[in-house]
Amino acid sequence: MRYLPLSDADRSAMLQVVGAGSIDELFKDVPAEARLTGPIHGLPMHASEMAVERHMIALSRKNMAAGDVPFFLGCGAYKHHIPASVDHIIQRGEFLTSYTPYQPEIAQGTLQMMFEFQTQVARLLGCEVANASMYDGSTAMWEAILMGHRITRRNKTIVSSGVHPHYVNVATTMAKFTGDALDTSLPELDATSDVERLLGKIDGETSAVVVQYPDILGRITDLTPIAEAAHAAGALLIAVITEPVALGLIKSPGEMGADIVVGEGQSIGVGLQFGGPYVGLFACREKHVRQMPGRLAGETVDAEGKRGFVLTLSTREQHIRREKATSNICTSSVLCALAFTAHLTLLGEKGLRQLAQLNHARACEVAARLVAIPGVELVNDGFFNEFTLRLPVEARPAVHAMVERGVIGGISLGRLYPGIDALQNGLVVAVTETATDADIDALEAALKEVVR
């Protein structure tokens, strides 16, 4: 038992101090009929490090790693190169094995890093303040909708059809139970998103409009008119971001009038990890900060007047307010936030812009080459590093046929929107800096074959 320091001699000596004849006496409150006598049935006995490692390596080899094949998937999770030093930093034991910084005198490392993260996120999203992270983008979006209800004291939210369907489904699930009204709709394979629909729906009962930027099909919409219309009706604009690298190149939602900006920070520093853990971003106007969920680090001084940081405004939180809290969230995603902030610190403004330009240039190149394939059309007018193609065949079988050719070529809208006929030929292709020329050649060749 390599993780258990006690020896049998220790155990005997300790039992004597405790005044128990056996370990079982310590479990006497557990009713005898429910107590297990032997080791739990079914589970194997303990194993060596080498044996466990071997088993797990074998399982890992049953997966196709994104780095091993030409790879073009996005839709809320992006493959970017992460500098080696980022993983070194998050594996520092003092970060990895520390707790929520409730004891600030011995948690300044985490608290200062949170403060830096909050500042970076606020600036990147174009807002005044940001929290120290949420579970992920989808749960952050639902929390933003609820926060909107607290601010406007209305409970009707209009969700753009361009929002990631998983995000919409999370909100729909939750709204079903809380009685909040959500107005949702399905996207169409069209160059423009549903701005007109949104503008037509906003009225005096609207709490917020939720728009994704760039959206699920990769389209980029100017949020200014939506923000203006929402504000004129006393409503909020909530913007959702799933690819923050885009903000190195395009205007931030905050600049265009969004009141709350949430999103998924995975693409900076975190890696794919089959969907989690990720890091939810959450930013808003300073005047609304007391309605914001999640943890916040704030600046203060210590007894000697030295600058330091603490968790603050925690009267919003469950451990203080219990059933009156703004949210039940307790754990956030601090280690992923550390990966995000360390990667963004390495990039800096200059590096983020370069990275964004590189992504965009790569994506433009791929789009130009794929639309040259007979029968393949580009849906988007504008995009950042992800765009949607209309194939002459159903996209779902095309994706599997490309896998057979060793290419992971895109996400079929049929998987995201099962049973919606109008979307079955849609293929979403994401191109990042990791795509080599050879990868692009392979994608082009594979798609050519499968749409024939």
């Binding site: 094995t97 200062q112 990147l124 699930t173 395009i250 089959f274 603490v310 969230i329 800096g348």
Partner: protein, 564 residues
């Protein structure tokens, strides 16, 4: 000394002992570290990019403009912005960012040094005992970290075609299987992102089950000693919360609970072992009474570490319980997340569990049951709680841990955790008031009150004095049912020698508290910071860095701008 643009300088310590000032403000290994925004990084980057020359791919394209040139990409050369217009031209559509963002950059050496210096201001499990009751701060095995970083796990996209992720789905399925085995439950939802998210999942299952039978119930009963997440979650799920008192023995008042049950009660949320560190011996009777009243039992599994391999929640009549993989199953806390909170459920609730999950098919392959296959495979699901499939990185770590310990090891985990806690309880009960010591052994954590402290000395003072002794304080002022509560959970990964050292330190501090040592008010004096002014932080919130006005550039705190 370099003067950074903001004019920030490390402040010089001038503490009670009046140590000599240093030029840098640093003392030996105690290093002051500025914010990244206070370093000269406006035009720095620590990342090099490949050049990208469009149209150099070897594929030939039927599109006009730039015939394909044979050859691979050029070798990486000096850093150059990849601004070359591609044949697609820019497709941003007039929304280019024009204003600067304000993100500083640092070279790699500066970055590594910055975060390494920051890390040294943190206490961590790797440095010592972390006796936080209800949080199970056990050792984080490094094999878990190694496994989670295998490319086949770390570099896999959640929406990859399912034939390319069979190993990942097998991990989820295997972990689910062992969690069910250890809990004796019927089904498990793997997607919740953390404990509180798991609580929400359990309550939504309960809500869906009640709605399915046309039963509209509005109240959830929560014991006074519950974690704050319990009432917050119940409210978040749309329920009204009512408290159930504890009895003098630190357990749920059975009479108060049973007399409150009725047709309006949807669920009771119990923590077992409870937050006083005690097992609820009447658990089965509570469950039977709750079921007889048509309601469900939710169990907060935060303290599962005390009973893993010793008793199965399923045998106690529990309907839903979340499992904190970052507590019982050793995944790292990471300064406050990410966690992972799978929820095991009874047969009555299983049909309503969330999407997605990994199912094993008759042919031995694995399939993600999500929106597409829900209608045929899981028609009564309440829906989705998160994008994608949950905290995969935590699943690999937790499975690695379970297989390492095995059935015998996990049982030993619970036994050693309980033994360590009782050892602390009995070694300190003569100097610290242990309100439930007479109730018999504790489980995985020992609870003490501030009774007997001299006037003017608080639990907070004792906690801060522990910092000077090199320990992280215990959980303070929780649960609310004990005055000035101190909740100590040593976990099973502490050696006897380590516990003895901790006990000796705590004895000495407890004696100082009883004697009213005024120096305790000043603690800590040996930490990177003295006590911090939390009132100021809340009254004038400064939540992000603002460039100070040039004339305000001096040491110490700038006058905060704005405020909530």
């Amino acid at each position: 000394m370099t003067v950074n643009p903001s004019g920030w300088r490390p402040s010089t310590p001038a503490n009670a002992e009046g140590e000599a000032q240093t030029v840098t403000g640093n003392r030996a290994l105690m290093l002051e570290e500025p914010l990244i925004f206070e370093m000269d990084g406006a035009d720095t980057t620590g990342v090099d990019f490949d050049e990208f020359l469009p149209g150099t791919g070897s594929g030939t394209s039927e599109a006009g403009g730039g015939a394909g040139v044979t050859g691979s990409s050029p070798p990486p050369s000096a850093l150059r912005a990849a601004t070359s217009p591609s044949r697609g031209g820019s497709r941003i559509g007039g929304l280019e960012r024009t204003a600067p963002i304000g993100l500083p950059g640092l070279s790699e050496p500066e970055t590594v040094r910055h975060y390494t210096r920051l890390s040294r201001q943190n206490y961590a499990i790797d440095l010592g005992l972390f006796p936080l009751g209800s949080c199970t701060m056990k050792h984080n095995p490094r094999l878990n970290e190694k496994v989670a970083r295998l490319p086949g796990f770390a570099d896999v996209h959640p929406l990859q075609p399912q034939e390319t992720v069979q190993g990942a789905l097998q991990v989820i399925n295997e972990l689910a299987f062992w969690l069910l085995d250890l809990t004796g439950m019927h089904g498990v939802a793997m997607s919740p992102k953390a404990g509180a998210h798991g609580e929400l999942c359990g309550l939504l299952c309960i809500r869906a089950a009640l709605e399915a039978r046309g039963d509209k119930r509005e109240v959830v009963l929560v014991p006074e000693s519950a974690h704050g997440t319990n009432p917050a979650t119940a409210a978040f799920a749309g329920y009204r919360v009512e408290n159930i008192p504890a009895n003098a023995a630190g357990r749920v008042d059975l009479d108060a609970l049973t007399s409150r049950l009725g047709p309006d009660v949807a669920a009771v949320m119990i923590t077992n072992p409870n937050t006083c560190g005690l097992f609820e011996p009447d658990m089965k009777r509570i469950s039977d009474a709750v079921h007889a009243a048509g309601a469900f039992v939710y169990c907060d599994g935060a303290n599962f570490n005390a009973i893993v391999g010793k008793v199965r929640p399923g045998d106690l009549g529990i309907d839903a319980m979340h499992i904190n993989l970052h507590k019982t199953f050793s995944t790292p806390h990471g300064g406050g997340g990410p966690g992972s909170g799978p929820v095991v459920v009874s047969e009555a609730l299983a049909p309503y569990g969330p999407l997605p999950f990994a199912a094993k098919m008759p042919d031995g392959s694995f399939k993600i049951v999500e929106e597409e296959s829900a209608a045929e495979m899981h028609p009564e699901t309440f829906g989705r709680m998160t994008a994608f499939h949950g905290q995969m990185g935590m699943f690999t770590r937790a499975l690695t841990y379970i297989l390492s310990h095995g059935a015998d090891g996990l049982q030993q985990v619970a036994e050693d955790a309980v033994l360590n806690a009782n050892y602390i309880l009995r070694s300190l009960e003569d100097v610290l008031d242990a309100p439930f010591a007479g109730s018999g052994p504790c489980m995985h954590e020992a609870i003490f009150s501030d009774k007997g402290f001299a006037d003017g000395v608080s639990t907070l003072d004792l906690a801060k004095a522990m910092i000077d002794e090199g320990f992280h304080p215990m959980t303070m002022y929780f649960p609310l049912v004990v005055h000035g509560a101190m909740l100590i959970e040593p976990t099973e990964t502490e050696s006897k020698a380590g516990l003895d050292q901790f006990i000796a330190a705590l004895r000495s501090i407890a004696e100082r508290a009883r004697a009213g040592d005024p120096a305790m008010k000043a603690a800590p004096v040996h930490a990177p910071r003295r006590r911090l002014d939390e009132t100021l932080a809340a009254r004038k919130p400064v939540l992000s860095f603002r460039q100070p006005a040039p004339d305000a550039a001096s040491a110490g705190l700038k006058e905060p701008v704005g405020g909530g």
